[in-house]
């Protein structure tokens, strides 16, 4: 089975711009989770989508937003980019909240 797919692999933006990151979950997985991992640090929970709805949100400002489409793929949008938004953004999917399968991530660099 195909794994979790994230695009793009790398993204370079300037401060103040917007970034859009995409995630395609494993077929049949309805839940998608987004995490931010700054260099050398742990996984900071961003957003959880299930069946097209936002189920939970981490402690991030409103300029971090997203959505889940009818095919369960998901987008993460980051507006008004700041330098400290530079990080690896990981998407994971799971069948009903059991084991997570992570994608390879999008490395966002804000300059």
């Amino acid at each position: 089975e195909a794994g979790v797919t994230q695009s793009p692999t790398h993204l370079i933006k300037t401060r103040g711009q917007q970034a859009t990151l995409r995630c395609s979950p494993i077929s049949g997985h309805t839940s998608v989770y987004w995490y931010q991992q700054a260099l050398g640090l742990g996984l900071q929970f961003l957003l959880w989508y299930d069946e097209g709805e936002e189920r939970n949100r981490g402690n991030f400002p409103p300029r971090f937003s997203g959505r889940q489409f009818p095919n369960y793929s998901s987008e993460l949008n980051v507006n008004a980019l700041e330098l400290e938004d530079s990080a690896l953004y990981l998407c994971a999917s799971s069948p009903e909240g059991i084991r997570y399968t992570f994608g390879s991530g999008t490395r966002l660099t804000v300059v």
């Binding site: 640090l41 742990g42 996984l43 939970n56 990981l90 084991r99 992570f102």
Partner: protein, 110 residues
């Protein structure tokens, strides 16, 4: 809200030495999972523990779930260079999302 604490943050060992990382939750968990992230990679699922006092082994890795279902440990016997990476525990309470610990970064001197 639920918190998961993991120690130590870093561990450096000589190849062949043992390694242990500990995980403690502020709430009782329905299950705990362990993930490994190789340098430059993404977290990969290792195992899930569900039962109180459960012990599972994967070759040189031993995973334990505490009797109160609030703590867990991962022990690696006779580390090898392939064990290098960051090990995360992640706890789940009911149908809630997984809450990840901060991770333990393991480095090994060959």
């Amino acid at each position: 809200g639920q918190q998961v604490m993991q120690i130590p943050q870093y561990q450096h060992v000589q190849e062949g030495e043992d390694f242990t990382t500990y995980c403690n939750s502020s709430t009782t968990l329905s299950n705990i999972q362990w993930y490994k992230q190789r340098p430059g990679g993404h977290p990969v699922f290792l195992i899930q523990l569900v039962k109180s006092g459960e012990v599972k082994k994967q070759k040189r890795l031993t995973f334990q779930f505490g009797e109160a279902k609030k703590n867990s440990s991962l022990h690696i016997t006779a580390t090898q260079t392939t064990d290098v990476g960051t090990y995360f525990c992640a706890g789940q309470a009911g149908a809630q999302k997984l809450v990840f610990g901060q991770g333990t970064r393991l480095t090994i001197n060959p």
